[in-house]
Symmetry: C2
Subunit: 698 residues, 2 copies
């Protein structure tokens, strides 16, 4: 969908234009005129003949031509009628600035419904209502009351908060940061965040997409499209507020471990979106992404005229998980040939306090040539001889000469380095006011390159007995039972190719002992009741039973004690099960996010998982690489590989288990939450066992 009429209209009507300063209808008209808009402006106000020297029209019809864009600032109750007039006049793009719609309650919601319904029938696209407007500097269009027209730049910005957009504009204008377009999306009655992001993706003026969001309208579409777009243009988002899903009571380990932010983190990781926590940080990252190439690796070299600043940068490099480049011998020799004897020739390269621009130029040039260096960070503190402007010039010059590696700068100081900062701005070298912030930007560049370099996502499919799964799920749904019991949960898992331990239900102690004898010792006893989900909490699990007497004792104790604790639980018997004694316990799980779909979880198994919280999440469906990465993202992974003389377990079968689970929950959207816990995994080549499982459907 093209939003060109919003960004490059040839004519604009302002319905509700006013001659009274302070009124929104005045401010918007003023913004349009001040910005130097070169198309036609038609103020619409039936009470005035002319406003700000422009002829004023009583209504849209009397303009006698179709305006490309109509901006509406009249009160909400009148807006549906204006949209009807737009339809008649043939206008296809409307910005509704007016507030008082769905955000204020029932009446407003009704107006908003009318507006969207009329618009949909007549092919009108709407930005807003309850928004600040649209700005497109290259068209000299400031259809907003957010502030002065900013510089033309390469950042496309969208904001779900108008108030924040005003602050963003003010900060950007003070820092000479430019934009391709800015859009305040307001209530998103029609055009939503994804429409704007897609428009920015296609927009030639936009190199970086940035925004502030509080909610996402269509989670699935968002993930799918944003992932595509991130391969071409970086997306930087501030996301405030948790999801409603976080508040729901959880019925599984996975459910209780997935915090309100987990889904967004998984979505952003999958779609390559870079998350920001403040306006200035977002600009910091945007500058680097807009103007510098992506580094091919994580090795950072630092050039400084002050040891202390170099150490601070080195600390930050280590803390951020980047690597400190080891300079090649040839590089060190070359540096030695021209730098003073006291200079430090290793990373961080210290060109000393009396360094002038030429010494910096030489060092940057030599270090950029080192094949082991991916990114160069230039630091400077103002000392007696320091030439901030001259040094900035050589940074710009040298970086341009070698455009395949990113160069960033941090000149510590204020007035004494200001002349340098201006040169950086013009020369498109991103500048940061602390070594830490510069290193954070390098980290973002590095991670984004890594994300873009990932192989294409190909999900592997496994055979599933769909009929069997369907039968069990449907019966539970029909009967209104949310939680599927252990036995049928395991049947579902078996239908997906998982192996579960053998076991049978006993209703008497003697029968339990007899089953145990047939299965072979040791065995586990588990209470069997549709009403008891967390069996171990009520003493409903007894492991490691070695002989018939122990089995009978455990059976009778459960039958005696549990009804006392839970008098209303329907107890069907006790499951006598083979006990898996060899291998390590992990947990595979899933929790469905209402907006983004199934969130897969992997972690250390057993009851420890909720204590240690060593878990990782990712959005289904999983590719083999993503499943493996979920393992690697936990500390448990080191243990699974084998530590200190202990044999490791079969990593690949765990990853395969995650993929099978991912496929199950993707194919059966009825499944809301599930855990396989523990999933018992042995050494390479052995068969993993799904020892216990719970599945909830809705």
């Amino acid at each position: 969908m093209s939003l060109e009429k919003f960004f490059k209209p040839r004519s604009v009507a302002i319905v509700g234009a006013s001659q009274q300063p302070g009124k929104v209808g005045y401010e918007i008209l003023n913004s349009m005129i001040d910005a130097g808009y070169e198309g036609k402006i038609f103020p619409v106000n039936h009470k005035a003949q002319s406003i700000a020297g422009l002829k004023c029209y009583p209504d849209l019809a009397s303009i006698k031509q179709s305006c490309d864009l109509v901006i509406i600032v009249v009160p909400a109750p009148v807006v549906p009628e204006i949209i009807r007039q737009c339809a008649k006049a043939g206008t296809k793009a409307v910005i509704i600035i007016t507030a008082g719609f769905k955000e204020v309650g029932k009446d407003g919601r009704e107006f908003e419904k009318q507006v969207t319904s009329i618009a949909r029938q007549s092919g009108i696209r709407i930005i807003g209502p309850n928004c600040l407007g649209v700005i497109a500097p290259s068209s000299k269009l400031n259809a907003s009351f957010g502030g002065d027209l900013p510089l033309t730049g390469v950042i496309g910005y969208l904001s779900q908060s108008g108030a924040l957009l005003a602050a963003i504009l003010d900060i950007a204008n003070a820092s000479n940061i430019g934009f391709s377009k800015l859009v305040s999306i307001g209530n998103k009655a029609d055009i939503d965040e994804l429409d704007i992001i897609k428009a920015f993706a296609e927009d030639k003026e936009t190199k970086v997409i940035a925004g502030y969001l509080e909610s996402i309208t269509d989670g699935n579409a968002f993930v799918r499209e944003a992932e595509q777009i991130s391969h071409n243009k970086p997306i930087l988002l501030m996301k405030a507020g948790g999801t409603a899903a976080g508040a729901k009571a959880a019925s599984s380990h996975t459910g209780s471990l997935a915090g309100s932010e987990t889904a967004y983190e998984a979505v952003f990781a999958r779609a390559g979106i870079i998350r920001c926590t403040s306006i200035r940080q977002q600009f910091d990252y945007a500058q680097a992404l807009a103007y510098q190439p992506l580094p091919k690796g994580a090795a950072v070299a630092v050039i400084t005229n002050a040891g202390g600043a170099g150490i601070m940068a080195a600390d930050a490099v280590e803390r951020q998980g980047l690597t400190f480049a080891k300079l090649a011998e040839k590089t060190v020799e070359k540096l030695a040939s021209q730098l003073p004897a006291a200079a430090n020739l290793y990373n961080p390269v210290d060109v000393l306090g009396d360094a002038l621009a030429d010494r910096y130029e030489f060092a940057i040039d030599v270090v950029l040539d080192d094949p082991g260096v991916n990114t160069v960070l230039v630091l400077l503190t103002p000392q007696a001889m320091t030439d901030a402007a001259g040094t900035a010039k050589v940074v710009v010059k040298t970086a341009r000469k070698k455009p395949d590696k990113p160069v960033l700068a941090c000149f510590l100081g204020a007035d004494k380095v200001e002349a340098g900062l201006k040169i950086f701005l013009e020369g498109k070298i991103p500048h940061y006011d602390s070594p830490q912030k510069a290193v954070s930007a390098i980290k973002v560049l590095t991670d984004y390159f890594r994300w873009r370099s990932k192989p294409k996502r190909v999900v592997k499919l496994f055979p599933v007995n769909r009929r069997k799964v369907e039968t069990i799920v449907d019966r539970h749904l029909r009967q209104g039972i949310r939680d599927i019991g252990e036995a049928e949960s395991k049947e579902i898992l078996e239908a997906c190719g998982f192996v579960t331990p053998k076991g049978f239900i006993a209703t008497t102690a003697e029968q339990a002992a007899s089953i145990a004898g047939q299965l072979g010792y040791p065995v586990v006893l588990k209470i069997w009741s549709p009403d008891i989900l967390h069996k171990s909490d009520v003493g409903g699990v007894k492991i490691g039973l070695e002989e018939s007497q122990e089995v009978m004792d455990a059976f009778d104790l459960m039958m005696y004690r549990i009804p006392k604790k839970l008098p209303n639980a329907k107890i069907l018997g006790v499951l006598v099960q083979q006990m898996c004694t060899k291998g390590k316990e992990v947990i595979l799980g899933m929790k469905r996010d209402p907006n983004f779909g199934p969130l897969m979880m992997f972690g250390m198994g057993g009851t420890m998982v909720e204590v240690l919280k060593d878990v990782s999440f990712y959005l289904a469906p999983l590719t083999p690489e993503e499943a493996k990465q979920m393992l690697i993202n936990t500390k448990t992974y080191q243990m699974l590989k084998g530590v200190r003389g202990q044999q490791g377990v079969d990593i690949d079968v765990i990853a395969e288990g995650l993929q099978r689970l991912s496929q199950l929950v993707t194919e059966f959207p009825q499944i809301q939450e599930m855990d396989i816990n523990p999933y018992m995994v042995g050494p390479k080549g052995s068969t993993p066992i799904a020892v216990d499982a719970r599945i909830s459907v809705e």
Copy 2:
């Protein structure tokens, strides 16, 4: 020690004063004159008659009076002679600006030694050499070449990097941040960081102590004194670079888990020092600490005119581990009485986009009165009607009226909020350019209050058989054996009141089986060799042996296999030991930091500890509260308390074990590293067992 002569000298001589711009001797003289210093300035230079209108002296003797302060800028080889002249003239305070001392090698080190030796003999105190100088705005003293005299303020600043200090000055001057004193400590030949910190602690003009350090001269004294001082004045430090200790190869779990930063983190936690990672962050925190009271709790209330900004603050509050204040019913009612209907009356209180100063004033006033609110954060974004200056004025006014709770502000924007920021600066309301930064400052205030409110540290002492420990330790030292074997390590533990499992050495398989029979099954077999520290790595540990045949098999396998793997290890036999099967495994450990002494460690036990890294560190000697806190700081703590129907273990005996260990390593500085791993702990009232231990001495 008073450093008054450095900060309030009545007369200053500059040895090496120069009339040539660009020279340090010129810059310093210029700085002194520009700052408007009111005492006498004596330039010393035998080549000039007068400099900058001041009479010039060929040497110190010809001044014919003793100067309070002498600043030396002549080359290093001449400096010892100048110090001799200072001694003769009776000067007691000297700043050596000159570089070229110990930082450049052997010759320089020799000059520095001479200088300190002469100074010590004659009672002269020295700042430097290789430093930027000293600044004291209230005395109009700028004895430095770092930049213009800053404003008079309440921050006392010390820096180990001169170059960084110049940047700090430049940033502070541009942001109108003032100082009580600034000291560049250079090579710390005489006066070191602790001397300056102590002087600032006693200085009435200084309310906040801040600094940048790369090393600490006397770790023990630093911890002791800084802890005292932090109870009266906050200390904010940037610390760059890791410790040398981190590079040493570790011989214990504790050793390998203690990173290069662990010691500093423990020192800062113990001494209440607030760690900063950048200059601007340090100023951010200093402003809050200097001008606001400490909050009595973690509950934060936010007042905003923009929903988005409020949500961002709320997210930050949650992320930082603070609590979002729940406003009292009375507060909500009162807010409702005057705020517009659409306003949000709950935290964050949204006074709406059209709020003027009066609405803010009312809301701040009401919210500050809520007893459940500890800190108030005022947010503003510039909107159509917004009055940044007026709003800032009422923030200042209301905060002054209720001086017992901190009030901080964040006005998002630049030019449109600038007038407000000036009012905040004058009104001493700390202002931040993002909600995140404001919340970080609140976190610092809250943590610092918590630290100051801790009860006095009282270490509990336990009976120790010192003779027994001494005998074992001394013999190892005499024989040059670093690692004490398991048997003697346990004897040491027993001397401190720990209980260890019974066990005996067997040299034949039959003997092993016979010992096992006497101890009772199950037993553990462990290879017995002074040369094998990590027994399980070489298959030297076999647990859970249930009968004599298993014991004999395990014995023979070890005797056959281990000499093949480690042909040079001297094998003395196999330890047959009772096996503790009940309880949870934890690890208690210690690693001695060369500068700060014993660092205690607690974590989850077994081989998992190095994988999961769920450990906490603290400086010995431990108080009972600190020992307990070390447990609470790990995730393992939740597990130890008991999860999901599992019984918990005796938390207090673990904390006691840490204290016993802390006492042992405090009393025996020869012990370099040690682990008790696993330390097996059962339910309340049971006796914990030190199952395995290793101790290294030096």
